[in-house]
């Protein structure tokens, strides 16, 4: 009974999600598009390539993406490194104490 209820719940949520995504979201390919020469470019990357030096002042576009546009993501990366170091130090200290 419970298992059937859970299964029905999962199916209902799945149908709801698929329905919502297929109707209420933006259609595919609706990125901000711009004309470059005769071609239309739909990518955000092209916009970043053109505007990054003026907007962030960094000559290295990778840096302007990593810390300028996505600084929060890179802060998370640094946190991942911190967590990894803390984990390694914790494990090896416990290991050394037991020996």
């Amino acid at each position: 009974m419970q298992r059937a209820l859970a299964l029905g719940m999962v199916v209902a949520i799945g149908v709801l999600l698929v329905f919502t995504v297929s109707t209420n979201l933006l259609p595919f390919g609706s990125f901000p598009s711009r004309q470059i020469g005769e071609n239309f470019d739909n990518s955000i990357g092209q916009q970043i390539l053109e505007n990054a030096p003026q907007q962030t002042g960094a000559a290295n576009v990778v840096t302007s993406v990593v810390w300028g546009y996505r600084g929060y993501d890179t802060l998370g990366e640094a946190t991942v490194l911190f967590t990894a170091v803390v984990g390694v130090v914790m494990i090896f200290r416990a290991f050394g104490r037991r020996e």
Binding site: P53, G57, N60, T63, G68, L81, V89, E99
Partner: protein, 144 residues
């Protein structure tokens, strides 16, 4: 952990300042040339680990001890967050570039990006050295 032969010691001693300088260059020029805090920090950590392998644990700990590495890693992490909070203090978003941008291509340009990369470089350097020390100290007692 004992050191190595005279040849290795001499080469390591000669290479240490150049490796350190190269790592510092990569960190400080992260907003101008390919590189940045993560690879530059690893290179600086490699220079210290090279000294450690050649001279033994005492010489390397004189350059950067265990407690020093722990404190430095925390300083690097706190520096990033404080630089991010600067944006909030000055009425902008978290981690937004609120410092003057300067001229494109100069060393002192791009606002807070080089400062953030400096924080990351310190953090990565101290973190890698800390991992190395932790692994070393875990197996040291049984050897001696």
């Amino acid at each position: 952990m004992a050191g190595m032969t005279v040849i290795v010691r001499t080469i390591a001693r000669l290479l240490f300042p150049f490796t350190f300088l190269f790592g510092a260059y990569i960190v400080l020029h992260g907003h101008l040339t390919p590189g940045g805090g993560f690879p530059g920090g690893v290179i600086i950590a490699a220079s210290v680990v090279m000294l450690l392998l050649a001279y033994g644990i005492e010489r390397a700990q004189k350059r950067m001890g265990l407690l020093q590495a722990e404190v430095l890693e925390s300083i690097g992490g706190v520096a990033i967050v404080v630089l991010g909070l600067f944006g909030l203090l000055l009425g902008a978003f978290f981690l937004q570039n609120v410092f003057p941008l300067g001229d494109l291509g100069q060393l002192f340009s791009a606002g807070n990006l080089p400062l953030l990369y400096l924080g990351v470089g310190i953090k990565v350097t101290a973190g890698i050295i800390l991992i190395f020390y932790a692994m070393l100290f875990a197996f040291r007692e049984e050897k001696e």
